[in-house]
């Protein structure tokens, strides 16, 4: 295997593993902040117990995210030094801003959340919960900015020497896809947190553990679980329109759409025959056109309008995109069902629904991972869309053997981390909130 391919595999593996944890962090920080706010106002100990329990989980989750996150920052230099040399002017300040403006805030105040319940006043503690929530989301903002700039670059110019220069930082930060992609990513994380909280609480309630604390946590979890997938449908919709407009070949690959046409169908499931440029499957006629601008006959560009060497691997992207979308729809249905059961107060007795809940915990993870794969592989062969090819971005001095070694080490270390994480996560869940 070539050094380039190995570097791509290593980046995909390490970033894919890393993202599991920030996704949980943001959602958990949201629920902790909600619980702390209610606790501060109502002085109801139940919310304190929920918050304390989730802080314990957050400590474990955060450390995994921090330990695997530093790898990502190093990897631009270690494996993608061609990229780093080319984009320092624009990409560098975004990463630096993430540290200065966001990650310090989250890390420093997380220490207060975990260790200082008894050392600071309730208001300072609440403020720390807010700052951890804010710091985490600001971190997500800057990282999504960095990635969005690779999807829809803006705010730069190329000088005579062929070098990328920064022209407008606000232009680069608020490039055409930043806001919608930030909302889509944050909502994915909130769903992840909501389903995690609902899953854990559902397990407690079904087993008759932790009484009121478990029931209240279930309530918070289910309410968020009902709302967030619906909101995600909205951000996903807006994001899809943005991709059709800004990265038409990626959008066409998502739907296996080859020939520019009016009244383009939307596939539920399917298969793309890349050889014969045909897509088979179950579809809703004209639905993609309708969703694009609420006109059943609007025109959508097909892959054939673009040179074939600039197509992503079509069937692969189609499949991962549809896994994400399918899980999204399933979560909407299950969330609404939960809300109905909560509304009618049947949820606490509904053994079936309660026993399904814990098994839903992996679903948002599969959805956000496949969504990211669709976004990143869908951008190929570009590392920066229409500006720089991935093949030109890799480090030139690092050999395939060295990368194979580091990749193997990452695989082994992350396997160990994953096993430990699951084991300790289950242990903390089994200990449960304070009585």
């Amino acid at each position: 295997m070539s050094a380039l391919l190995l570097s791509r595999i290593q980046f995909a593996f390490t970033v894919g593993f890393h993202f599991l944890f920030p996704a949980m962090t943001l959602g958990t920080a949201l629920i902790i902040f909600i619980s702390e706010t209610i606790y501060l106002i109502k002085k109801d100990e139940t919310f304190k117990k929920i918050s304390d329990f989730l802080v314990k989980l957050l400590g474990l989750i955060f450390v995994m995210g921090a330990a695997t996150g530093i790898v990502m920052e190093f990897s631009f230099g270690t494996n993608w030094s061609g990229y780093s040399r080319a984009v320092g002017d624009v990409f560098g300040p975004i990463l630096a801003a993430e540290g200065v403006i966001a990650f310090f805030l989250e890390s420093v105040f997380l220490g207060v959340l975990i260790f200082a319940r008894e050392k600071v006043s309730p208001k300072v503690y609440w403020l720390s919960a807010l700052l951890v929530f804010a710091g985490g989301h600001l971190s997500a903002f800057w990282i999504v900015v960095a990635n969005s700039w690779m999807q829809t670059p803006a705010g730069y110019a190329i000088n005579e020497a062929g070098k990328i220069n920064l022209i407008s930082f606000t232009g680069a930060v608020f490039n055409p896809s930043t806001i919608v992609r930030f909302c889509h990513t944050v909502m994915a994380s909130w769903i992840t947190g909501a389903v995690m909280a609902a899953g854990i609480a559902g397990y407690y309630v079904r087993k008759g553990l932790h009484g009121q604390t478990a029931r209240t946590m279930l309530k918070i979890g289910i309410i968020l679980f009902a709302i967030t997938p619906l909101l995600q449908l909205a951000t996903g919709h807006i994001h899809a329109i943005e991709v059709i407009n800004m990265q038409p070949e990626k959008a066409a690959a998502f739907e296996g759409h080859f020939y520019t046409a009016k009244g383009v169908p939307l596939y539920a499931v399917g298969f793309v025959d890349e050889q014969n440029e045909k897509t088979y499957g179950i579809y809703v006629p004209k639905a993609l056109s309708f969703l694009y601008d609420f006109d059943w006959n609007s025109e959508i560009k097909g892959l054939r309008d673009f040179p074939k060497e600039n197509w992503p691997p079509v069937n692969f992207v189609f499949q991962v995109y549809h896994i994400m979308a399918g899980i999204g729809i399933l979560l909407i249905a299950l969330g609404l069902l939960g809300a109905y059961l909560l509304w009618t107060e049947k949820i606490y007795e509904n053994k079936l629904y309660l026993s399904i809940l814990p098994f839903l915990i992996p679903l948002p993870h599969i959805a956000h991972e496949t969504g990211w794969i669709a976004a990143e592989v869908g951008r190929q062969p570009w590392i920066i869309y229409k500006l720089m090819k991935t093949a030109d971005a890799a480090s030139v001095v690092v050999s395939a053997g060295e990368i194979a070694f580091s990749l193997l080490m990452f695989f082994l270390i992350y396997l160990l981390l994953a096993v430990m994480f699951v084991k300790l996560f289950i242990k903390i869940v089994q200990e449960g909130p304070a009585a």
């Binding site: 330990a67 530093i70 631009f76 270690t78 200065v100 420093v108 920064l166 580091s406 270390i413």
Partner: protein, 336 residues
């Protein structure tokens, strides 16, 4: 038009400040990790040592992340050359940092495996503490570079005696940070042992620092007129001596500050001889990566200056606030 050189020089200083901040802050928690088997004998003592850094180590590590980001943004060629050129060494740093980070949490949660996680906490901390100095030693002493600014050596190039000496000097300084932090945060038997560690490490540091200074004096030309270098040498030796004085008077709060000041002296000395280089080329001085030939454009440097000069004071302010929340001696069972 403003002179871009002013901003390039400013960013040399600001990155130095970020690296100093990292080495002082993460330095003490890496030092605690590397010293834990020697000063913490019982489980309770180890718990106290972990508790003393538990609330703050992750914030300290952000100094590295920010320093790396700043290097990327200000001098992308230096970042790209060092990180790709020192590939395997950088991977070892990463593995060490990963193990160190997760071990703190796993040790607390996984009672059965605590002994293993203590060992990996020790090993990760010690390895990272040693490797940072070796990496710095290489860019200062010089590595072979080609005319595209790419590193042309191999893993063993990094293991030459002078860079290894930098590694040892940095390692000793980090251990002293850890021991003097332990003096500030512990009581009883643990405090006694930490004091003993400080007094041993002061002597070790006097030797390693002086060897480090002498090596620089003999390795680098044009050092005779470099007044900053001599000031830094004097500064370091004075603060190291001050620690011995504090230890004699059983002063438990001063050694940490004195150790920090001494550490700053090590940095100032290397900055004085290294400026304006970032990565020196050992094969041909003209191929060196300097602040002038590796930086981003004026627009980016200006923007970064605004972010740093507004953002970092805020960061430092709330970091001080949180350290004050945790001031005083570390106790048992603060964790959860």
């Amino acid at each position: 038009m403003e002179n871009i050189r002013n901003f390039q020089e400013l960013w040399f200083v600001l990155i130095l400040v970020l690296f100093i901040g990292y080495s002082l802050l993460d330095g003490f928690d890496l030092g605690i990790g590397a010293l834990m088997p020697f000063i913490g004998k019982t489980k309770e003592e180890k718990d106290i040592l972990i508790n003393s850094i538990g609330p703050v180590w992750d914030g300290n590590e952000v100094w590295l992340i920010t320093g790396g980001g700043a290097l990327f943004a200000a001098f992308p060629h230096a970042y790209a050359t060092a990180f790709s050129g020192f590939y395997l060494a950088m991977m070892l740093v990463l593995f060490a940092l990963i193990f160190r980070a997760v071990s703190i949490e796993f040790r607390t949660q996984d009672k059965a495996g605590a002994a293993i996680w203590e060992k990996s906490f020790f090993a990760g901390s010690a390895a990272a503490a040693l490797l940072f100095g070796v990496a710095l030693g290489n860019v200062v002493y010089g590595v072979p570079l080609n005319n595209k600014m790419e590193f042309t050596g191999n893993f063993f190039t990094l293991l030459r005696p002078v860079p290894l000496l930098f590694g040892i000097a940095g390692f000793a300084a980090i251990l002293l940070q850890g021991a003097s932090y332990a003096v500030m945060k512990t009581e009883g038997e643990l405090l006694k042992r930490s004091f003993r560690a400080v007094s041993i490490l002061v002597r070790v540091n006097l030797i390693t620092a002086i060897v480090y200074f002498l090596t620089m004096a003999f390795t680098f030309q044009d050092i005779t007129s470099n007044w900053l270098f001599y000031m830094a040498v004097l500064w370091t030796v004075l603060w190291l001596s001050a620690i011995s004085f504090s230890v004699k008077h059983k002063n438990d709060s001063s050694p940490f500050w004195e150790s920090s000041f001494a550490f700053i002296g090590l940095w100032l000395a290397v900055a004085a001889v290294h400026f304006p280089n970032l990565i020196k080329a050992s094969n041909d001085q003209n191929l060196s990566i300097t602040i002038y030939n590796s930086s981003t454009g004026l627009q980016t440097l200006k923007l970064m200056s605004v972010i740093a000069l507004i953002g970092m004071p805020v960061v430092i302010a709330y970091t001080i606030f949180v350290y004050r929340v945790f001031k005083g001696k570390a106790k048992l069972s603060e964790h959860y």
